[in-house]
């Protein structure tokens, strides 16, 4: 579910994702980050976590989807505030104005899973050749 709503110089995008073990395992495989805290319940608990958690970089990859045209993206940053676990549903939102994008990601309990999330985009013409 990715929607763009242009209006008043502000573009809004939203993406809702329910995290599953399969999604996390597929990201581990594709990214090469096979840290057992993402894949193995016992290893995750031994590390002091309630169970397996999603990669921060998986959250950031989904956040980038609501940041705008990937070819224009020049900066992306966030703080991973709360672990995302299988079964969690996270709503990612981006609000773009003049190339600056404020990003949020909130779980089903209304708690932010990332904070201080921002992106910067260059104007469409400047991304050519990039």
């Amino acid at each position: 579910m990715e929607t763009g709503t242009p209006g008043g110089g502000t573009t809004r995008r939203e993406l809702v994702v329910t995290f599953t073990r399969e999604l996390i395992a597929a990201y581990a495989e594709a990214s090469g980050d096979r840290n057992p805290i993402h894949l193995d319940e016992e290893a995750a608990r031994a590390a002091g976590l309630p169970g397996v958690i999603a990669h921060g970089m998986l959250q950031m990859g989904l956040l980038a989807r609501v940041a705008g045209d990937p070819a224009r993206l020049r900066r992306l940053s966030c703080r991973f505030a709360e672990a995302v676990r299988p079964g969690d549903t996270v709503t990612f939102r981006g609000e773009e104005e003049d190339g600056r994008v404020e990003l949020t990601a909130v779980n089903q309990e209304g708690r932010p899973v990332v904070t201080r999330a921002r992106a910067e985009l260059v104007p469409p013409s400047a991304s050519a050749g990039g």
Partner: protein, 143 residues
């Protein structure tokens, strides 16, 4: 071999392995691998290299050097990725060869928690493509 941790005279003392620079790592942006990564994020692989493929070409290349450095002694079992920032001059192209180099920008302990700031610069030839700044938090066992 990574440079040993050093203490710069007259400036803030460097602790842990702050200042340590690792050997550059070469990485080929391979189309099939990029497509698999894009699909894992639910992105159309035809759109080119997803920006956060930097997790692979910037972090995946250099972070293992830090984690496997016996002198850095990173307790990976109690480590969390706390913050991440990427900046790009441009995104890599399929088939391009990149060179990534990692550096420990900060290594401090606060209330029993180790804060490791790791920076990676990625180039294609002489051209700078991407800079990554990761903050890793390592909790002492039992906390």
């Amino acid at each position: 071999m990574p440079a040993p941790a050093r203490r710069a005279a007259g400036s803030v003392p460097l602790v842990g392995v702050a200042g340590r620079v690792y050997e550059p790592v070469t990485f080929l942006v391979e189309a099939g691998h990029v497509a698999a990564f894009a699909r894992a994020l639910g992105v159309d692989p035809g759109q080119g290299v997803p920006p956060t493929y930097a997790a692979v070409y910037a972090l995946g290349t250099t972070v293992p050097q830090l984690f496997s450095d016996p002198e850095a002694a990173v307790d990976v079992a109690h480590l969390l990725h706390a913050e991440q920032e990427f900046s790009w001059e441009r995104h890599p192209r399929l088939g391009e060869t990149l060179v990534a180099q990692g550096r420990v920008a900060g290594d401090v302990e606060r209330r029993g928690v180790r804060l490791l700031t790791f920076e990676t610069e990625v180039r294609a030839g002489a051209e700078r493509l991407c800079t990554s700044r990761a903050l890793f938090v390592v909790r002492a066992p039992g906390r």
